[in-house]
Subunit: 101 residues, 2 copies
DNA sequence: TAGTCACATGAACACATGTTCATATATTTG
DNA sequence: CAAATATATGAACATGTGTTCATGTGACTA
């Protein structure tokens, strides 16, 4: 008989769920997909590309930044957002890779 | 100059977010981790392993089943849950793989 | 058939989340 | 300095989510 036990401690469970929640939204996945292609993009660029209101995008961006997914850089009037860790993109590839979805 | 465009259509964005939401919870990640080790487990076994109330686990399981992540099989009084697509586990590995988290 | 075990269900609640709108702040430009 | 541009903020609201509790249902057992 084989023993089965949770291999992930509760801290890691919480953390993983926290990160996944930050990703689990159509607009936010779109942001990640775009930032995966272009190292950095301004808020206006993201608004245009995603056809989305400035305020809404801003809320999403700040949300992702606060959770450690995105970083920012100011250049004049613009603020450029970028992926802190590009490997986050793998998550999206994983899902698109699952045949059933 | 390079063109940047959303590479994922909105249907896929919605779908990806939908699946990620189904995973993005500590208890549900725990369920996936356990089912990755043991092809199938009953509700009671999951309750014991996760130290969680039966009703709560049941809600989570049905939620994941309804979203296509889990399948069920009845054997006498027990109902056994299993992962429909084991590759979903990669998502969790992805996160634990990201250095920053 | 009555009792027990295993699981599902549904109401109710607190709490989190997504969105919109109006407005504030920072930076550049004229 | 005034106006314009780019972005952030915060209130308000609707909606979604996680949890608990009480109870229902199906299957085995004595």
């Amino acid at each position: 008989m084989t023993f089965t036990k949770l291999r992930i401690d509760s801290k890691k469970l919480e953390r993983a769920a926290y990160v996944l929640k930050a990703v689990a939204h159509p607009t936010r996945i779109g942001i990640i997909d775009l930032l995966d292609q272009r190292t950095e993009l301004s808020v206006t660029e993201l608004c245009d590309l995603l056809q989305c209101e400035q305020s809404l995008i801003s809320h999403h961006l700040i949300n992702m930044r606060d959770k450690g997914l995105l970083g920012t850089r100011r250049d004049g009037k613009n603020i450029y957002y970028f992926l802190v860790d590009k490997t986050i993109t793998n998550i999206i590839e994983c899902i698109n890779g699952c045949e059933q979805f």
